[in-house]
Amino acid sequence: MTASGKAIDPAALATAVRRGERVALASALNLLDDRRAASRRVAAEFISQLQLGQSQTQGHLIGMTGPPGAGKSSLTAALIAVWRRQGLRVGILAVDPSSPISGGALLGDRLRMKTSAGDDGVFVRSLACRGEFGGLSAEVWPMSLVMMAAFDITLIETVGVGQREIDVSRMCDTTCFVAQPGSGDSVQFLKAGILEVPHVLVVNKEDMGAVARRTLAELGTALNRQHSDGNWEVPVLSVSATHASGIELLAETLARHHQVLLSGGGLPARRRRYQAQWILKRLQDEFGTFGIDKLGGSDAIMRQLAQQDLSLFEQYHALRHNLLSLYQQTHD
């Protein structure tokens, strides 16, 4: 039943995941976490099966990021409550840092996402970023595909303190940045250009009063409100997760962005483009310029990924496999 030994039938697993069966979801996520070569082959097959005949616009993938202590998990919990009242099913991927020395990690986000235990409409999986790739866990992307197949809304929560961390949300449909009032971080983020990525800016802890209002004002004035995606003006919202105020409006804003994406008709192409960029980045991280050159350069890879009909996850594995065997030959 777990990925530990017993054989997995990728097609059956995909069907069960689409039905939202919890046992299947858990073993699918375990499978995608499994780095053994044999498991990776099963995983690729499973993802293809999962996407077979599935709508290209299934689900809404939301990225939530922001500095540590901004209250992202409490905000997530408050959003879950709103979404559940609306009858929406929610999957959460929460990314926490790992220790660079032991590889161990404390996955504590669930603590603040106290959900009703009997609710089958919520599923939370925590991920350690496992240090290798500048804060991004390799498994986030495929796991988000699993969550999207099963849930109306999938939310990825990451600590966003730099350009690299925010990349994880760049692959989402909607990115939400949570600012910590009074930290001064927000202005730094503005300068670093990070705030060009999010579609929604949130100042949490409005109960902090004047400090929160000042941060709100700073963001409001400094920001180029027209998002580079076009057709979207970036709202700056003031909320309080602890007092559950402003959460409905936030949920509504996230849904409105989703509607804009859907009505524009470009969502499937955009998802493919984002995912292709994600693949390219991962290949760069793992194999460097050497690897990218061997595959004909990044433009060629992007063109190839954009054209082919094969599942992107399968292509990713094929490309990775090619590079691995090349690398092994070089060293033989």
């Binding site: 039943m1 777990t2 990925a3 530990s4 030994g5 919890r22 046992v23 979801l25 858990a26 073993s27 996520l29 375990n30 976490d33 499994d34 780095r35 053994r36 498991s39 790992s98 220790s99 020395i101 032991s102 590889g103 161990g104 990690a105 404390l106 996955l107 504590g108 669930r110 603590l111 603040r112 106290k114 235990a117 009997g118 599923f123 939370v124 999986r125 925590s126 350690a128 496992r130 602890t242």
Partner: protein
């Protein structure tokens, strides 16, 4: 008696002698109290069970397995009346270990006094009522910090005006030491807590400026005494000096009587061992010396643990032994005939000064963060405590800190003390919970429902408006409101809270440790063999908030390379089972210290079964008697750890092997 006759008025009066006790039911506890009083105990110290402490009625699902376990269940005024039957309250000095629900239990006490025909103004005793430390240790908080401070404040303001001889709050450094605090930290955090409470009372405007000296004069402390008894003596002298300065400088209190540092003591339980438990007797006696030797810093009330606390619940005879220790010291020795033995000692004075300056530095750090409440909410204080405790555990592991019978001199002859049929502990009758529930339900059916409804509406109005919570609580007690109903109203108004776990401390494993390196390698190799890093869920089911063990395993597990899922205290079996499944863990580790391990394990297994995850292996740690451990293992629990198991690297290695065998891999050979 003859002793008194020989030494007429030369001797000091002995301190109040109590035994922290209560179990099964109000009736059984009342019998125990009357027996203890007849043996020469001079005050009562009531232990409430966890549902009462966390605001649930005995028939609430979360109360299952916990009713009457660690104390007496009090659901309503009928229980409280039975608890003090034939104990005239105007003559009694009663200490109640109660925090989040302190206003409610005090209200019941007042209502029972009225029924006994006693003027509440004459009542004497103590409500622990230090909810801030519950966020750091012990864990019986309910509400967020702000409303908790407000409830503490309400009791202070009410008793100063209406029950003038009551100690409204017993600010506890006791539990901080149990959570790992050093003497410096105990001083700093207890005094910072006192500042937070006194400031809040002042800000509430409930007490007139000129009466503020009375408020300060009623603040008392509840302190721990560990085995390093010379340093502990110095700590008490430091407390004295720091409190005197603080209340003078910060609150302008001039009357020396109001400035006196008044404290009660329970000596250290953290250092009591399960191995060779008879050694705990001399530990307890030495610890008692720490808080009695120095006349100027002597405790006003002492309660001693029983020698067998680390094994399970003490029996009446065990408690009697603890009481006799106090009586021998107070009545047989010449201690009370002398003035202060340490005044003028340069050694003592130097140590006191060292503790004071360390504590002042830490108080400064707390103040910089905006005070004790902010430093608790940010997780700062909890992290400092977890760090201290981690260092202590590591010192025990390496043998740098010697514990006789645990990490040295482990060989022992068989103990006749634990050889009896009861293995030297008391077991609570499982029938007690069922009886309590039946009597609660009968009580509910018999009361004036309309009056209850009105009382709860008044309570809600007071909670919302900010009026003092005591008058409406006392009115509710009179008409038969239950503990669960009172708490539920406040839960609805104030909301609930989860405190920071404090386990996100910096790497504690950076010192060279071959044992840790070896485990780390085993964790890594096993993760590789299984395709992904090893994941461990640490769950604290039930109402028990003693989280040291869970925190230490979490920190050590992270340092050994596990990915640790830990959500803090008071989870339901369903939450634990679901979290284990959603997080894809390889192993579930439970920690239970309240004695309800059998019921909780059964419930968690049922929940796992329900969601199709019954194949997940389970281990458990806690105060678990051997016979229960055998039964748990027979039911399929993979390992049972008790306070005897102090080598945490060895525990980690065992966890790795449990996971390996669960996946058909051969276990690593472990160095013993």
């Amino acid at each position: 008696m003859s002793q008194d006759a020989k030494t007429p008025d030369k001797r000091d009066r002995p301190w109040l002698m109590r035994t922290y006790s209560g179990h099964s039911s109000a009736k059984a506890s009342n019998e125990l109290y009357r027996m203890n009083l007849s043996k020469g105990q001079t005050g009562l110290s009531v232990a409430f069970d966890l549902p009462t402490q966390t605001g649930y009625d005995s028939d609430h699902p979360l109360a299952r397995g916990e009713v009457g376990k660690v104390g007496v269940p009090i659901d309503h005024i009928g229980d409280m009346e039975a608890l003090f039957e034939q104990i005239p309250l105007e003559q009694m000095n009663t200490s109640m270990t109660i925090n989040a629900t302190a206003p409610w239990l005090l209200a019941l006490y007042v209502a029972v006094a009225e029924r006994q025909g006693v003027d509440p103004a004459l009542l004497q005793g103590t409500t622990q009522n230090d909810t801030l430390k519950e966020y750091l240790s012990r864990g019986t908080y309910i509400f967020p910090p702000a409303p908790s401070v407000r409830l503490v404040t309400d009791i202070v303001a009410y008793t100063v005006q209406h029950i003038p001889r009551w100690n409204p709050t017993n600010i506890c450094s006791y539990h901080l030491q149990e959570a790992g605090a050093t003497p410096t930290q105990e001083l700093a955090y207890a005094l910072s807590t006192a500042i937070a409470i006194l400031d809040a009372v002042k800000a509430s405007g409930q007490v007139d400026e000129e009466d503020f000296g009375n408020v300060v004069g009623r603040i008392s402390f509840f302190v721990n005494a560990g085995i390093r008894f010379v340093e502990e003596t110095c700590k008490m002298r430091a407390f004295n000096a720091m409190w005197d300065t603080l209340v003078q400088e910060r609150y302008g209190v001039e009357d020396p009587k109001q400035r006196r540092f008044r404290y009660g003591v329970q000596v250290n339980s953290l250092g009591l061992t399960e191995s060779q438990p008879e050694n705990n007797v001399q530990r307890i006696v030495l610890e008692m010396l720490a808080v009695t030797l120095s006349k100027n810093a002597r405790a006003r009330a002492i309660q001693l643990p029983a020698w067998n606390e680390a094994l399970g619940l003490p029996r009446p005879w065990d408690q009697q032994w603890a009481l006799r220790m106090q009586q021998v010291l107070a009545l047989e020795t010449d201690l009370l005939e002398y003035g202060d033995l340490f005044d003028g000692s340069p050694v003592i004075e130097a140590k006191v000064q060292e503790l004071i300056s360390g504590a002042e530095a830490e108080m400064e750090r707390v103040a910089e963060q905006g005070g004790m409440v902010a430093a608790i909410e940010s997780g700062h204080v909890k992290r400092e405590l977890v760090m201290s405790h981690t260092l202590r555990m590591r010192a025990i592991e390496t043998g740098e800190l010697k514990i006789v019978g645990v990490n040295c001199f482990q060989q022992t002859a068989e103990s006749p003390l634990t050889a009896g049929g009861d293995a030297g502990i008391m077991k609570v009758d499982v029938q007690a919970e069922r009886d309590q529930i039946a009597s609660l339900q009968a009580f509910r059916a018999s009361r004036d429902q309309a009056a209850v409804g009105r009382a709860l509406a008044d309570l809600r109005a007071a909670a919302i408006s900010g009026d003092n919570i005591m008058p409406s609580s006392i009115a509710a007690a009179r008409v038969g409101v239950t503990t669960g109903e009172w708490s539920e109203v406040l839960r609805e108004v104030f909301g609930e809270y989860r405190a920071p776990t404090g386990i996100d401390i910096a790497m504690a494993g950076q010192t060279e440790s071959p044992a840790l390196d070896a485990v780390r390698e085993q964790v890594r190799q096993t993760g590789q063999a299984l395709g992904r890093p090893l994941r461990l869920l640490i769950g604290k089911p039930g109402l028990d908030g003693h989280s040291n063990g869970a925190e230490q395993i979490a920190v050590k597990g992270r340092d050994a390379g596990f990915e640790i899922v830990y959500e803090g205290i008071r989870l339901t079996p369903a939450q634990i089972a679901r979290a284990a499944q959603e997080e894809g863990v390889h192993l579930i580790g439970l920690s239970v210290l309240s004695g309800s391990h059998m019921e909780l394990v059964e419930d968690i297994r049922a929940e796992l079964e329900k969601i199709g995850a019954s194949d997940l292996p389970i281990i458990i740690g806690g105060i678990i008697p051997e016979s229960d451990a055998d039964q748990l293992k027979a039911q399929g629990v993979q390992a049972v750890f008790t306070p005897k198991d102090v080598d945490m690297n060895a525990i980690m290695a065992e966890l790795v092997n449990i996971i390996r065998r669960d996946h058909g891999l051969e276990g690593f050979a472990q160095a013993s």
